[in-house]
């Protein structure tokens, strides 16, 4: 089974390479950034690409999305320390077939990779329920978290305070929140804001 692996941490990349080879995988290429990973996948057409989420240039999720369009036969699997529901949701949307923790022991990692390659259609990503926010709502949330008033948010985004009021009302419903504090707290839990 042929793999391309990508991570911006050189030692992790090296360790992962050794671990996967020990488990019987053939590592065709190792890349330290998203663009190099994408190029390697397009060039070598591996069975799967094991991608870190946070990489310079392109994130692993962006590489997933590109691979889905440009090399659909390559299965994208993310390996990361991020566990925020919003990141998992984005990975699912981008077409990732697996979402693994970096702490996964090599034997388990190999087992899961083989499972994914054997039955790629099964959804193995963690089940998360993240409300889909509109771009405007996504703009409003961080300002809300910074304690801005409706007027200030409106001024900052160049809209009227009534529009902000509408956005907030919809945000409260989506986040199942009763007030601003709850909305910000829930958004933080879901990973919608830092």
């Amino acid at each position: 089974m042929k793999l391309v692996i990508a991570d911006d941490h050189p030692l992790f990349l090296m360790g992962l390479g050794y671990a996967l080879r020990d488990q019987g995988f053939e590592v065709l290429a190792q890349a330290s950034d998203g663009l190099a990973a994408l190029e390697a996948c397009l060039k070598w057409q591996p069975d799967a690409a094991l991608l870190d989420v946070k990489m310079p240039g392109m994130t692993g999720i962006e590489v997933c999305a590109r691979l889905k369009r440009e090399a659909p036969a390559v299965l994208s699997v993310l390996i990361t320390t991020f566990s925020e529901p919003a990141v998992v949701q984005a990975a699912r949307d981008a077409g990732a077939r697996g979402y693994l923790s970096k702490e996964t022991p090599p034997e388990e990692l190999a087992r899961q990779l083989r499972d994914i390659m054997a039955r790629p259609d099964i959804n193995r990503l963690p089940q998360v329920s993240v409300p889909r926010l509109t771009p405007r709502e996504t703009d409003v949330l961080p300002l809300l978290a910074q304690g801005y008033s409706n007027k200030e948010i409106a001024r900052s985004l160049g809209v009227s305070p009534d529009t902000i009021k509408d956005h907030l009302a919809r945000l409260y419903i989506k986040l199942d929140a009763g007030d601003r504090t709850q909305a910000v707290s829930r958004a933080r839990t879901l990973g919608l804001i830092a």
């Binding site: 941490h9 030692l11 994130t59 999720i61 320390t81 601003r180 919608l192």
Partner: protein, 429 residues
Amino acid sequence: MNEEADHQHALSTQAKPSGLSRFNTLRFQFTLVIFLLAFVPNAILIFSAGRDLGLLGRAALPLGLWLGLVAVFSAVVGWVLSGALLRPLSRLAGELGRGEFHPAQNALGRMNVDDPQEVRALRAAFSGLLDRLGTEQGRRSAFMATLVHDLKTPLVATGHLIRTLSKRPLPDLERHALGEHLLTENARLLGLVQQMADAHRFEREDVRLTSAETDLRALLDRVALRLQQGRVVPGVPVVVSGEGLAVVDAAVLERAVANLADNAARYASRRLELRVDPDGVSVCDDGPGLPEGASIASLAQPFNAQPVEIAGHKYTAGTAGLGLYIVRRIAEAHGGELVYRRESAEGQPALSVMHIQLPEIFGVSSELSSVRPVPEDPGQTEPVGELPVSRTSDAAPPPSLADPLAVAFYPHLPVAASPTSIPPLEVHP
């Protein structure tokens, strides 16, 4: 969430007073004061007038009724006035309780609400407090992100490599290289932990100095030599210039200069200079410098959270500013400061200059020379002989992997390729 629940509980408890405590409110006290101020003089006047007019017994009933009306009227006026007087305070309490606090001034410096001066001062104080809490929360996030992202990944990697070393028969050369990588990473992690500990300590206490007259040129030579031996990018000459003496803690200042120089070496493309200036020491490189609009004041903060954008959302994925913060504190401990500027000369690429300003320098000279070797004894400061500036890889020690300082200084940039890092794309035929 527990803290939030406690907060809500505290608010609800405050909102529902019981027994006599329901009268222990500012509004009740203000009402009482206004009532007494309005009623007591009226009561005295009415009693005096009644006595003077000889109104006693049943004849005094109208006066009594009038007094009762005055009492009710005074109480109502007191209640209404106290409500009006306390409205800004009630509004502030309501905003804080609902988490909808409006700062005293908005981003444009205009007053948000028509509050009296005292309440504005209170708003400003709350605003400052919330800002500090926000900063602390950001630092805590950055600290946790450092633990989760910056430390976890190398620890997992180390586990993989140790398994490989213990289970897999490797050629001697490969085994040796793996061991060196592990040691280098171990040193890097120790450095990161040390930086975190130092930054935490420097937040709470002053840097302790043991100052003595120090040859700054010799200090820079030592840093340059170490740079040359370990961390420089091939092809970038290190130039040391200037002479001068200063009363400093040589070891502490050397550490600050080494921090700056390590980072400059990572981003320099053609030029790296360490120099003694008339008012301090500078580390210059022709790299991209600090991000546009960023300042030393904002970057040289402990546990400065650096968000990374993933799928349209920003996440705290590590800390930045530790190295700069430590340098800044060392400069301040010497009575100086850390200054950043861009220098450009005609026909030359612009230089990023990190300058540690010191209060007094003696015997300043701007003579330019190449790197000189350092004597074996670290206490000895006189340079001996000349060493050509060369970057042969033969002398280079094991590779240094991603340095936390690099991320700490220029978080917006990818770490420059170094002879030690794994190439971006390794293909196994």
